[in-house]
Amino acid sequence: MTAEAPTSLPAWMLETEGGGIAPSGRRRRRGAAERTLDGVARALERSLFSEELAARAGTLQEMDPRLKTVCLAVLLLAALLVRHLPVLAAMYALVLVLAWASLVPLGRFAGRVWLFVPLFTGLIVLPSIFNLFRPGDPLLVLWHFGEGASLGPWQLPAELAVTRQGLQGALLLVTRTAVSVSLVVLLVLTTRWSVLMGALRALRLPRVFVLVLAMTYRYIHLLLGLVTEMHLARLSRTATRLPARRERRLAAAGIGTVLEKSQVLGTEIHEAMISRGYSGEPLTLSTFSLRPADLPPAALMLLSAAAAWGGDRLLG
């Protein structure tokens, strides 16, 4: 249908509203939209930083990505098998050396790992350090319940204490997680995503798995852009923070919109793939080649993994 121009504007639209721009003296509280925008901006900034790091001429960046992936996977396996804290600590030191040699800023690298590890693993293992859940030698007594105390059908110990065994177990798990996550982060930070996907394919990971991984990463950026625009559009029409209930409803509507748009986009992407000959078998150009310079860092990593595993066995 041809859009007809309105014959005349309503009276209120002919008036100038609002007057000047004057401060009220009251600070506007930040709402969900601003917080989401901050989060999206941080995610995009991290992504750009990762791309920049992957392009640096560091030790791991220069390695053949297939060999690097295998070596870091072997180190990861060793970290999962090791049972002594000093050995894990030594492995973490090796990870930091690798990061340093790969020109990865250590503070940012460690921060990225240690921000999340205590949050997720730490919370999971926290109860196990107390004698309520795992008996052991008390290191620090926090509370005296007295003999025969109970909580419903649950018999409580005489005192609530942090145990040596519990603390050791928790530290071991947290450190192991930190080493494992650090190894994976190091791989991702020092390898361009497209190259990493190619390496995974070269290592015979299932094609569909690699394709889904690659596309997920690709379209996260697109959806982040979409979310940013939605929130900016909202901010441009919002002067004050809305009541919590209204905020929740808007957030739910936003999630619904993103989901719907991603479905439409998904259909289009599939059509675009079909149009260029895709028939369910993703193929990529991979032109990897091993060089003599790849061997020293590979040997270091593989020997370190063997030493960690052997040393751990020797410690009992």
Partner: protein, 277 residues
Amino acid sequence: MAETGEELVFELRDVHFSYRDHVALDGLSMSVQRGERLVLLGANGSGKSTLLKLLDGLIFPDRGSIHAFGRKLTAEALADEGLARSFRRRVGFVFQNSDAQLFSASVRDEVAFGPLHLGLEHREVERRVADTLHIMGLEHLADRPPYHLSGGEKKKVALASVLAINPEVLLLDEPTAGLDPKTVGFLERLLNQLAEAGKTVVTATQDLDLAAAIADRLLVLGEDHRRAGEGTPPEVLADRRLLLESNLVHDHPHRHDGREHRHPHSHLEDHGHRHRD
């Protein structure tokens, strides 16, 4: 199976297509000649994008028939791997939404996707990728992920990803939408070069300037989702009534020498009189 002449790339007979209860095309019949530069003109929602998807065998008519290179285009026909592969090598489609088309992790992978999946040898794929990136001026972006590119760069990569297949028919959906004038000029020159090389170029647009620059023939889709008109660019673009009825130009009041009057307006050519501020 009906056979059409070799000179016809596509032939559509009484094609109907609906998205649930929303009609997109209503009884369209048309044909596309080999080596032709055809522009599908139509307002938003007239069915241009749907028509291109039908021509590319991505969707199929509810009623009526489409023949491509003399063969009837159906879901069953394209289920044949050999036929699908040869059809996809011969027909390339540049989507309006570049973001939907750029799904690979780097520009190089994106350009390689089509040739790889259409069975070309690795060495040939690498040669084509290098050549295509070169002619499109994209070499410096080869290792960049597509989401870091500007709108114009994305459009160029989308076009490069189809050109690397070297299809004999190019379908383009609003190729200049949202692009800066320099990139539009680049695309116009490229499309004309491709047509001179014998490619068939079918472009859907509502941009009359682009249509005038790249078409041998214009086919106008009306807002009733039917064919509203057809002809050479001078014939169609001179038919103000057709353009007005198809919502391709609009009619708004002007002042000239203190006198207000209305006439169709498209910025395509001079009004034949001077405007004053």
